[in-house]
């Protein structure tokens, strides 16, 4: 029943999924944190930019963003992100699209974390004369990030599942392979079971482990 597995590189496809996830997670963590800093900062223009970015990007389907990076950026504007062959270009464009999309959610997760930090912390930091970057960087963000582990985990799991959208521009990850296998093989249920099992293996442990980490690092108040 599972004979078809020999013909396809299932592990390779899931490795691509993992790579997409990790690269986009790293990128969106950086960009999302910057956006969150802009949104709570004292410069009105940056606040406006952060708010506009989050509200616009959150409301566009990821599919549209990823197709735009492939059809728009690559095919119409000729941007290839320093890659030459088709597969690498699409992989990088998919990572770019995922970063653009996910950082909006990362920003909101971190802002939610900032809201859990008691007012007294920031007041005390200001009272001893710290500037805004110091208040944020030394006092508020370290506590906020620990509280944000939960929401960030949810964003990471959503990201893991969202990497399947890269199939729309031909990145050979798990959902792309699933579609190919279903077209060529008869064992529909077995194929779906394998792919579903793979995703359960990726998302459930992530949730459980990071959920435990989140409880562990949370600031006890």
């Amino acid at each position: 029943m599972f004979d078809f597995l020999d013909k396809y590189d299932v592990l390779g496809a899931f490795w691509t999924t993992v790579q997409l996830t990790l690269l986009s997670a790293a990128g969106s963590l950086v960009w999302g944190t910057l956006l969150a800093a802009m949104r709570v900062g004292p410069v009105p223009l940056m606040r406006g930019f952060g708010t506009a970015y989050v509200n616009i990007v959150r409301n566009i389907p990821l599919t549209v963003i990823i197709l735009f990076s492939s059809l728009g950026l690559n095919q119409n504007l000729g941007i290839s992100l320093g890659a030459n062959d088709f597969d690498t270009i699409n992989f990088r464009l998919a990572v770019l699209g995922l970063i653009v999309y996910t950082s909006a959610f990362v920003c909101e997760a971190i802002r939610a974390g900032i809201n859990t930090v008691p007012v007294g912390q920031a007041e005390a930091a200001r009272a001893i004369g710290l500037s805004f970057p110091q208040v944020l960087g030394l006092v508020v963000l370290p506590q906020a990030l620990r509280a944000a582990v939960g929401p960030l985990t949810n964003a990471l799991i959503a990201l893991t599942k969202n990497t399947t959208v890269a199939a729309a521009i031909g990145v050979a990850e798990a959902a792309f392979l699933m579609k190919k296998m279903i077209e060529n093989e008869a064992e529909l249920l077995a194929i779906s079971a394998v792919i579903a099992f793979g995703f359960v293996c990726l998302t459930l442990p992530t949730g459980l482990i990071l959920g435990w980490v989140g409880k562990k690092v949370a600031v006890k108040r």
Binding site: V40, G41, P42, V43, P44, L45, M46, F49, N55, I56, R58, N59, I60, P61, L62, T63, V64, L67, F68, L71, G72, Q75, N76, L77, G78, Y101, F105, A112, V119, E123, R126, S131, F132, V140, P151, T153, N154, A155, I157, A158, K161, N162, T164, V165, A167, A168, A175, M178, K179, I182, L188, S192, I195, A196, F199, V200, T203, L204, G207, L208
Partner: protein, 296 residues
Amino acid sequence: MTSVLYDVQGPRAKRRNVLYTAVFLIALAAVAWWVYKSFDDKGQLAWALWKPFFSGTEAYTTYIWPGLQKTLEAAALAMVVALPLGAVLGIARLSDHLWVRVPATIVIEFFRAIPVLVLMIFGLALFAQYTDVSSDDRPFYAVVTGLVLYNASVLAEIVRAGILALPKGQSEAALAIGLRKGQMMRLILLPQSVTTMLPAIVSQLVVIVKDTALGGAVLTFPELMTSANTMAGYYGNMIASLTVVAVIFVVINFSLTSFASWLEGRLRRGKKSTGAVLTVEDTVGVAGHAGTGTAA
């Protein structure tokens, strides 16, 4: 300045702010200029490419409106089917009986752990192999099936969280006046938690609307984005078409999001409710949600 994160600004801080604003403005302007330049170099700003959207209604009546209809149809049908299913699953997960609670928990966690796209691809093949649904209708059925399976389990968590958010006194009082468990759920808990859950349910609608685009890109379901793709092939204006589609999605989803937060504020202030209000953030458990969509 209402933020607690920084002090009221004195003259030096104000000057510094002006400087930061100027630097940021220049950076934004540089990016905008780069976008403009690269669009202009490739002739993407030519009036001919944008004309279909600003003069005449052909682009709207032939491509955008039929696509938008499909998008809204699939989203609405998915929501209507997923809501009762989710309510049943959510209540089942709260059951006192192990043999009801455990299967419901497994179903919910399983379908939340799997990407919607995988469910849609599975649905498409399933309808092709085991039913005689015509091949034209299959993508629609597959998209709705995928959306229902995923969102029913997300909604189940919303329902569960909504019921758990009610004050304990409600169920204690219900039991004290002699109601049975079924009556307590039907007459006391559900009616109150529905208002609590409304904002979260409306926010979930945003996720559903966004996810229909997945079916378009991979299953050739002719929703808004796919018909925009066809349109781009006809007019030769991919960037312009995708931009218009993105704007339409933002308008729809932003109004839904704003409606949800208006509802949330109203319910929070309301005197009749228990004051407990759920947002999407309250309901995400182990497997997270798309937001995330896919999103969230």
